[in-house]
């Protein structure tokens, strides 16, 4: 690593920078400006200083939403990653069924978020939905509009249904890249199935799994549409995740100042996680190649 880095190539991204300035940087600056002022509409603003930030930092509402958000992301990762790897391990490696599985698995990924939400909203209804109706007939008390636990089960099942295939497809790609020689060597050594997984497949999948975990974390951390369509954040505030709460505050209550302060803190958390994401990925790349 003795080569100096030539940073001049960065000038080539100037056109993108100008586009991003209009689509992201200027709106973000406006949010920062809002966060230190109070407005009653009509484009009139009054200086509020750090008041909104202080208020939000001491507000249980934001911390509770953050707690729910972390719980949601944690649960879906704990289910989707092992399940995705398990599915990938059991997928056919070649032939018609391999392609068939790939197509079927990518179907949920192609469905827009609001449609997924609508599907599950209907699916879970006790009166007309297949899932809700069946559970009800089986004597299981299930109602996602009134019971917080049921609401949580529904949005988690929905996310698992929607995104496990992404983890599975990435893990499958990782598995496919392992040369046959590794398996042959393991066979000669009479390695058990577990040993093959632990010492050959898992290390070789690590890179793509890392991408899968971080992608799913980021995506679930920003999730809005699906839980909003299914539960609307309810019952009560049981499934009000960060972005749902933010929209309620900014558009529902028109509390622009507090909402701006909230969104800046939300943005900082996402920025910090993205940085870790980027750093871990580039470091893995360097180790791997």
């Amino acid at each position: 690593m003795n080569k100096t880095v030539n940073q001049k190539a960065w000038f080539l991204v100037l056109p993108v920078l100008i586009l991003v300035a209009f689509s992201a940087v200027i709106p973000l600056m406006t949010v920062v400006n809002y966060s230190v002022q109070d407005s009653f509409g009509n484009n009139q603003f009054f200086w509020a200083g750090l008041e909104w930030f202080e208020q939000m930092l001491h507000d249980d509402r934001m911390w509770n939403a953050l707690q729910r958000q972390l719980m949601f992301s944690g649960i879906i990762l704990a289910i989707e990653v092992p399940l995705g790897v398990y599915v990938a391990l059991n997928m056919p490696k070649s032939g018609f069924w391999a392609s068939f599985c790939l197509v079927v698995m990518s179907l949920p990924l192609l469905i827009p978020w609001n449609v997924v939400g609508t599907i599950w909203q209907v699916f879970g209804r006790v009166d007309i939905g297949l899932l809700g109706y069946t559970l009800d007939k089986l004597g299981i008390d299930y109602n996602y509009t009134q019971d917080s636990f049921d609401a949580w089960v529904t949005i988690i099942a929905m996310d698992v249904w929607h995104w496990t295939s992404l983890v599975a497809l990435l893990a499958y790609a990782g598995l496919k890249s392992i040369p046959d020689a590794y398996y042959q060597a393991a066979k000669i050594d009479q390695a058990s199935r577990w040993a093959v997984f632990r010492y050959i497949e898992l290390p070789k999948m690590m890179g793509v799994l890392m991408i899968a975990i971080l992608l799913r974390f980021m995506d679930s951390f920003m999730i809005y549409t699906e839980p909003f369509v299914v539960t609307g954040g309810g019952p009560g505030n049981a499934t009000t995740l960060l972005s749902i709460d933010l929209v309620k505050m900014a558009l529902g209550q028109f509390d622009l100042g507090p909402a701006a302060a909230f969104s800046i803190m939300y943005f900082l958390v996402i920025l910090a996680i993205s940085w870790v994401f980027y750093t871990v990925m580039t470091n893995l790349d360097k180790k791997g190649g």
Binding site: M1, N2, K3, T4, V5, N6, Q7, K8, W10, I26, M29, T30, V32, N33, Y34, V36, Q37, S39, N43, F45, W47, G49, L50, E51, F53, E54, L57, H58, M265, L268, L271, A272, W275, T279, N283, K286
Partner: protein, 91 residues
């Protein structure tokens, strides 16, 4: 520009950030450098260290505001300066 609801403090805030970015761009062009590995065990350049400093400073300021209160907020900036020095020295 009216719709952006500018205030003097936020304008100064963004001017300082823009000035930092421009300074570091010029530095990177005039004095190209080798990335180094610091206490975080990751390769960093000056620009990376600036990013870590700015992001960390935001969290330091928020933590100070939440835990100590707004009256002594300038002291949070002092902590940030110490943090910045540490990042540029050891990360």
């Amino acid at each position: 520009m009216d719709w952006m609801a500018w205030t003097q403090p936020t304008a100064i805030f963004f001017i300082v950030i823009a000035a930092l970015l421009i300074t570091f761009t010029v530095l990177a062009l005039k004095f190209p450098e080798t990335p180094r590995i610091g206490v975080l065990r990751i390769e960093t350049t000056r620009g990376d260290r600036l990013f870590i400093t700015l992001l960390g400073s935001a969290f330091i300021n928020l933590a100070w505001l939440g835990l100590v209160g707004p009256d002594t907020q300038p002291w949070a900036m002092a902590v940030c300066l110490v943090y910045a020095a540490a990042v540029f020295r050891w990360v």
